[in-house]
């Protein structure tokens, strides 16, 4: 394919484009899903194609097609050019990309045990063992388990001479139980909801998760939730475990730092951001213990890669330092607005999609101490785990999040389980109320497999390294 793409690149150069890039992707995805004592689904998907991005007369055009036959590739390139010419009819300002040094290189994510080499029967066996344990209680209506594996090979070329190849393997999964009583239904998952935890690693990631070893606790929790009192309303100090912290970081930090949102290119769909460019460097986003980085280099993260989909090498940089806002996720088109070069965050979910600014791994740096010590240090509060509900306004300020399970904390000790816990807040006030973050021993990079953005919708993986953390005087309860 590379030779064909080089030929098309020359074709576009001769047509007089200002810039062009060509991205071929080929991916294989395997999904295994069990429900109660049956296999619900085993599927394998193979998908490939080419996306071509062109700037002509200062305006963007993009075309993509699954066929890589010579004639079809040329048609796709010509269509990208035709689309760019149509864009140029209305362009108010000409696109100018930030400079990027041409690079030639390759990247392969770590993979100790090839997930596609593990027999499907072994995967099913692990999941069925887990659901068998989950089902050992009458009120469990559904026990589910799933695994998903993806391997993607990417080739990127542009008219500036960048040529990079990457192979990224993703593994992940989880288990979940639904318990039902006359007037209630509750869910509990491991390691977290929304399909589980994911990483750019091999099958060793699944082995380490040990689904069967955690099924009994999931079963006990979900049955206890049916009988538990509702989470109280009011102001409480809350401790969020890593699973919910990942969501909190994702929604209230990760999305608002996307510079394309800030500049208005997602206004009509997902919305904008309260972190306007005048806030860069001087805005107090959180308390002085809040340090957040964007790190596309951390091994195993769902936002880890060698090069973004503009061929810019992966980077690590500050987003929040000492509570103050320091940096955006950016692209070659947007970075000049803040006087910087690209932060290397342009990612497309597939060859058929335009790259957008996406989260890499947005990590809250660890503080000190264990979770046990943090609970012991909390006189009265609530501990919450595993995201269930997520809603935030179009500027990423007013949020309400709910979790699968909560526990009361009284005088430094965990008390009763409470059901349907939820909390709400205003983003900078909430992060300003962060008074403790657990240490490195509690830190884990959670993999979110399903971050959505753009039209047509693109779903991509992001990572969020975090420890459990405490927030003071937070509004708890849905107040419905």
């Amino acid at each position: 394919v590379k030779d064909k793409l080089i030929e098309i690149r020359e074709h576009l150069r001769k047509k007089g484009v200002d810039y062009a890039d060509l991205r071929h992707e080929s991916s294989t995805t395997q999904q295994v899903r069990v429900r109660n004592d049956e296999v619900e689904k085993v599927s394998e998907q193979r998908n490939s194609g080419v996306g071509i991005r062109v700037i002509y007369n200062g305006a963007w055009g993009f075309a993509a097609a699954s066929s890589t036959a010579d004639e079809d590739l040329r048609k796709t390139a010509d269509m990208a050019l035709e689309v760019a010419k149509a864009s140029a009819m209305l362009g108010k300002k000409k696109i100018k990309l930030a400079p990027a040094e041409p690079v030639k290189g390759s990247f392969r994510s770590p993979c100790e045990k090839d997930p596609f080499g593990v027999p499907v029967a072994d995967k099913i066996s692990v999941l069925l063992e887990s659901t068998a344990t989950l089902q050992k209680e009458d009120r469990i209506r559904v026990a589910e388990g799933s695994m998903r594996f993806n391997r993607k090979q990417k080739l990127f070329l542009n008219t500036e001479g960048t040529e990079v190849e990457q192979e990224i393997t993703v593994s992940g999964g989880g288990i979940e139980a639904t318990a039902v009583s006359e007037n209630d239904a509750q869910k509990r998952s491991y390691p977290t909801g929304h399909g589980g935890d994911f990483a750019t690693r091999g099958f060793e990631f699944i082995t380490d998760l040990d689904f069967p070893g955690h099924a009994e606790k999931v079963r006990e929790d979900v049955v206890a939730l049916l009988d538990a009192p509702a989470c109280p309303d009011g102001e409480f100090d809350i401790i969020l475990l890593g699973t919910q912290m990942a969501l909190q970081i994702h929604e209230s930090c990760g999305h608002p730092i996307e510079l394309d949102r800030v500049l208005g290119t997602e206004l009509s769909y997902a919305g904008g951001s309260f972190l306007s460019v005048d806030k860069l460097g001087g805005f107090q986003y959180g308390s002085d213990i809040v340090n957040i980085t964007a790190d596309a280099t951390i091994p195993g993260g769902m936002g880890t890669f060698g090069y973004d989909d503009e061929g810019v090498p992966a980077q690590r940089y500050d987003i929040i330092r000492g509570g103050y806002f320091q940096g955006y996720l950016s692209s070659r088109e947007t970075a000049p607005v803040i006087g910087r070069t690209s932060g290397g965050a342009m990612r497309a979910s597939s060859w058929s999609c335009i790259p957008l600014i996406r989260m890499t791994n947005i990590n809250l740096e660890p503080g000190e101490g264990t979770l046990e010590e943090l609970i012991a240090d909390t006189k009265k509060g609530l501990l919450m785990d595993a995201n269930k509900v997520w809603s935030i306004d179009d500027m990423r300020v007013n949020f309400q999040f709910g979790c699968e399970i909560g526990w009361e904390i009284e005088n430094g000790k965990l008390g009763r389980i409470v059901k349907n816990p939820s909390y709400s807040g205003i983003t900078p006030e909430f992060w300003g109320a962060c008074d403790a973050i657990c240490g490195p021993e509690e830190w884990h990079v959670w993999g979110v497999a399903n971050c959505g953005k753009g039209e047509p919708g693109q779903t991509i993986g992001t990572g969020h390294g975090t420890s459990p953390a405490r927030f003071k005087s937070i509004q708890v309860g849905a107040s419905q």
Partner: protein
């Protein structure tokens, strides 16, 4: 490949290669989508994408299933997928009570394709937008939105003799107008590009934006609300997702679970899935080749039923209602043609019934997993929220968060508009919902924002 005869021949030739004794079905979806996104009255993303999605399911020994998916839309690609699906199936455990593949049944003829729409290209989209941007310039507002035009086909074939083909087109224009302090939205969707009235939508979005300038803050609390059709659709999208499918119903998480035949909301509420309604992208069969049926969920306030695919129907000894999403999604039926019955009120009459309340244009980032048995949703208002006093729209208000049970809210509907609108859902896989405006008493808002 969008030619009916060529495509069905290709699928039949692939099915001829299915090993003796095995069963197979193939879902073939082809789409060419042109999409122009614009913001600040300028195009910033513009694309044409041509792709296929082909799912091949093979069943061996009567009860072992494998699925392979490819986008290689030729005989080699299909044959490879067939072999892979068979390989997977041969390693499987048997599935108990696996329903048989659908047999050929008559499906309703429907007009789902429009050549003018298929021919509408990037230049035509740009020319439409240029005119809209001039309208906006003259009113000193900026436009953002998306203009999408698609064409393609859906085909289903199986070893039981099903051979179905349906060409499709769609056009969608979302228009948002922005001033320094406000925004307004209008959306249009149709199978036919000629039915998208860009001038009218642009005027409506601009008018809403200008009316909402300098919004004022109001206290959270209970308000009577006039929900415009898009706001109603934003709520029903989640009500559908958590409540109208057989999976959630059977698992006991739906607010309809164990309530069939009971009165659950107001007498004036009737909601169904109607795949035959041309206002809602009518479509004759589901992704397994089962003819689609009209399914009532709530009739005059009484819970009536949910939608089924073959798996969930077999579990209750019923027949599929034609709501499968295909071989990849067994056990996951979803209603995609929601129609809510209109009332008898005009918009003016509904406003006149409001002493003090809010007019809501749309909701944003709604989520319904808080308490699915009571259909509790939370979300934000957006792009046009107004205070209504004494039956008149007074001024724009800053956005608010709501958190309320839809079972409760649909029990408090004081009036329903006689006009309905086809509104595109927030998820691209769902067709437009055909819904009226609703006047709901005592809708619960829990907090506000500064914009």
């Amino acid at each position: 490949m969008n030619n009916k005869n060529e495509l069905l021949t290709l699928l039949s030739e692939t099915l001829d290669k299915v090993p003796s004794g095995a069963e197979c079905d193939i879902l073939y979806v082809r789409e060419r989508e042109g999409l122009t996104r614009y913001t600040q009255s300028s195009i910033h993303q513009n694309m044409v994408v041509d792709d296929a999605h082909i799912a091949v399911r093979v069943i061996v020994d009567g009860d072992k299933v494998g699925v392979a998916i490819t986008n290689e839309a030729n005989s080699e690609g299909l044959e490879l997928a067939l072999k892979l699906a068979e390989e997977i199936a041969r390693t499987q455990e048997p599935v108990e009570n696996l329903p048989p593949l659908p047999s050929p049944s008559p499906v309703q003829e429907m007009d789902t394709f429009d050549q003018d729409t298929a021919d509408f290209g990037p230049k035509e989209r740009a020319a439409t937008l240029l005119k809209m941007f001039r309208q906006a310039d003259s009113k000193e507002v900026e436009l953002s939105g998306a203009f999408a035009v698609s064409s393609g086909c859906v085909a289903v074939a199986n070893t039981s003799g099903v051979r179905l083909f349906q060409p499709v087109t769609s056009a969608r224009l979302n228009v948002l107008a922005f001033s320094e302090t406000s925004s307004g939205i209008a959306t249009g969707v149709s199978r036919k590009i000629s039915e998208i009235d860009a001038d009218k939508l642009t005027d409506a979005a601009i008018d809403k934006c200008l009316r909402g300038m300098r919004p004022q803050e109001i206290e959270p609390g209970e308000y009577d609300v006039l929900l415009e059709p898009k706001a109603v659709a934003d709520l029903l999208l989640w009500v559908d997702y958590i409540g109208f499918g057989a999976k959630e119903f059977q698992e006991g998480t739906s607010f309809l679970s164990e309530k069939i035949g009971e009165k659950i909301v107001g007498d004036n509420i009737t909601i169904c899935d109607d795949p035959t309604d041309p206002r809602g992208f009518c479509f004759p069969f589901d992704m397994e080749g089962t003819p689609k049926q009209k399914v009532p969920f709530i009739e005059n306030g009484v819970a009536r039923g949910v939608v089924y695919d073959r798996h969930t129907a077999t579990r209750e000894g019923k027949s599929s209602t034609g709501h499968s999403f295909g071989p990849e999604y067994p056990n996951n039926p979803l209603a995609t043609h929601i129609v809510m019955a209109p009332g008898e009120s005009t918009r003016e009459e509904m406003l006149g019934m409001m002493e003090r309340g809010l007019l809501v244009s749309r909701f944003h980032y709604v989520n319904g997993f808080l308490d699915t048995r009571n259909a509790v949703l939370t979300g934000m208002t957006r792009d046009g929220t107004f205070l209504v006093e004494g039956g008149e729209i007074k001024h724009g208000v800053k956005n608010m968060r709501f958190c309320d049970s839809m079972v409760r809210a649909l029990s408090e509907v004081a009036a329903i508009s006689r006009e309905v609108e086809a509104v595109y859902g927030s998820l691209s896989t769902l067709g437009p919902f055909v819904v009226p405006a609703l006047l709901i008493r005592g809708f619960k808002f829990t907090s506000g924002t500064d914009h």
